[in-house]
């Protein structure tokens, strides 16, 4: 039973870190954050792709 409790505790801590720290503070969906419609997202990515250039 001690093993079960330890594993549940690890799972809960891990899920908390993943969903309440990483997701909220570090991994917001960039396109969803900045644009509301699919048209806006398509326009943004289209521009990104056609303008993208690496530093020489």
């Amino acid at each position: 039973m001690k093993l079960g409790k330890t594993l549940w505790l690890i799972i809960l801590i891990k899920l908390f870190i993943i969903f309440f720290i990483l997701k909220i503070f570090f991994f917001q969906n960039l396109l969803n954050k900045h644009f509301d419609s699919d048209q806006e997202k398509a326009a943004f990515v289209g521009k990104e792709l056609t303008n993208r250039n690496l530093k020489p």
Binding site: L3, K14, I18, F26, L31
Partner: protein
């Protein structure tokens, strides 16, 4: 023109690689050990012998620890798609989304429902229902792997889709072509069977440790008997499916094959390097330095693997960059391979056509838009080359790909022998008497992990610079975020993953050391 710092591309790659490699520590043990546990429980169901129940419950506990620590680590990869690979996420559209959604809805829920019965259902449900739940948990986990690997295979061989310049997305036109692509089928079967190898090595390694400690002789003997047969089956199937994968790589990713073999200049016939040491002095692909300090190769075998013909030409890195060698097109007609420069030229036309199409479309010039759309479609096969500045970017890291590939193959051969010898020794009741074999068995556990991770590295490093083969390189796929933010999360993950790994190993070792529950 937007400038993307090259170090952003490298850090984004490193962040993804760290997460995927960590996630991949758990998946193969779940897939491999899961089947072994199911077989053990089937013996219990068939014989009613309580010893089989005890054996099953012991290995199931280790399976549970691995599952608990590993669960949800793959979700982080999906977060990274949205944040660090947003261009890619949008560009792949429903092709990548559909398999992942099916994975989430069908396989994951199936897995999580039955795993609850598997762990908590002993003595609460019938023996038959419990056995079915154990098998269905493993089946669900394997189906989960199928969908993930289908999505990955599409990136290695994009098929069954059409690019829509209005939405800037690849849209799926043939679900079955995506699902049953030969790359996906080979990748799935090779990955799953290699996971059986890892699961079997784990069982034999832990059992051998018990034998070294002179504990649990009966449990260990019975476990090794199952694992040796299952492991040998997995290792042989992994060799066969590995050969199938090599054929697919030759067809769709010839540069990856050339780099895997350190083959700079193509030859007819081409030999397969069995053991080789690369020359660190080798600078560029076109210098005259011998790429090898030493190599031992099997003549003609690479030609046979790549083209199914012993006397056939396999292009090297230089040939693929310069083009001009005969190659079969998608309609089976022999043509001259394009040079990298020509592909880059066509790629730039494709990218420019996309820009021109979107401008024409926005201003309502339908006839102009149609012309640009046609030009884009004619050159879309080389779209990704439009982002390549220097043809040398098209060559993946040779030493990493070469050494990991050969290490994987050598370890694969080792495991065929290892399981065969284990099976013979356990059959003759000699396994526990050979101390060297017992220690080798314990060592085989980290070797199996090394082999498995090498497979991931070969597949992913070997296909650089492509995120989607020929269509999108990593430099076009990454989000324009600050390099510092990617570095921050990289180190955050490094700490988190290390802590979780230490936790898993300490719980796992403690549980192994404690052994199975006492016999009643």
């Amino acid at each position: 023109m937007e400038n993307i710092d090259p170090s952003l591309v490298d850090w984004s790659r490193a962040q993804f690689a760290l997460t995927a490699i960590y996630h991949w520590l758990f998946v193969p043990l779940t897939l491999g050990l899961g089947i072994i546990v199911s077989v053990m429980e089937t013996f219990y169901y068939k014989t009613g012998n309580p010893e089989w129940k005890r054996i099953t419950q012991f290995w199931m506990k280790l399976f549970g620890i691995n599952f608990a620590i590993g669960v949800a680590t793959g979700i982080i990869l999906e977060f990274e798609f949205g944040t660090n690979w947003s261009n890619y996420s949008w560009f792949v559209g429903d092709i990548f989304g559909a398999p992942l959604a099916i994975e989430g809805i069908m396989a994951f829920f199936m897995e999580s429902t039955f795993i609850a019965v598997m762990f908590f259902g002993w003595n609460k449900v019938s023996k038959g229902f419990h056995l079915a739940s154990t098998w269905l948990t493993v089946f669900g986990a394997t189906i989960s792997a199928l969908w993930i690997l289908v999505a990955n295979a599409w990136m290695q061989f994009p098929d069954g889709m059409h690019f829509n310049p209005e939405t800037v997305r690849n849209e799926m036109v043939d679900f079955w072509a995506v699902l049953f692509s030969p790359v996906a089928m080979n990748k799935f079967s090779h990955t799953v069977t290699s996971s059986w190898v890892l699961g079997s090595a784990f069982v034999i390694g832990v059992s051998a440790w018990f034998m070294l400690k002179k504990r649990e002789q009966s449990l260990s003997t019975k476990s090794i008997r199952i694992a040796a047969v299952f492991g040998l089956t997995g290792a042989l199937l992994a060799a066969i499916t590995g050969d199938g994968s090599a054929r697919q790589v030759a067809l769709h990713q010839p540069m990856k094959l050339a780099v895997m073999e350190g083959l700079y200049k193509g030859s007819n016939p081409a030999g397969l390097v069995l053991i080789g040491f690369l020359n660190p002095e080798k600078g560029t692909y076109d210098d005259d330095t011998n790429p090898f300090l030493f190599k031992l190769q099997i003549p003609g075998l690479l030609s046979l693997m790549a083209n199914r013909e012993l006397h056939s030409f396999v292009p090297g890195i230089t040939d693929l960059i310069n083009g001009g060698f005969p190659v079969e097109d998608t309609n089976g007609i022999m043509i001259q391979a394009l040079s990298a420069e020509e592909k880059m030229k066509r790629g730039k036309i494709a990218v420019q056509s996309l820009a021109s199409f979107r401008t024409a479309h926005e201003t309502g010039s339908d006839s102009l838009a149609a012309i640009h759309r046609a030009r884009l479609e004619a050159n879309y096969g080389q779209f990704g080359y439009g982002f390549i500045k220097d043809k040398k970017e098209l060559i993946p890291n040779v030493p990493i790909t070469f050494y990991t590939f050969h290490l994987m193959v050598l370890l694969g051969l080792f495991f065929i022998l290892f399981f065969a010898i284990s099976g013979i020794l356990i059959h003759k009741d000699l396994f526990h008497k050979w101390k060297g074999m017992l220690w080798l068995s314990v060592l085989s556990v980290p070797l199996a992990y090394l082999c498995s991770e090498c497979g991931w590295i070969v597949a992913e490093v070997g296909r650089q610079p492509w995120v989607i083969q020929d269509i999108m390189p990593a430099c076009a796929a990454v989000s324009a975020v600050s390099t510092g933010s990617v570095q921050t999360t990289f180190f955050l993950f490094a700490i988190l993953f290390t802590v979780l790994l230490v936790a898993e190993l300490s719980i796992l070792f403690r549980q192994i050391s404690k052994g199975p529950d006492p016999e009643h």
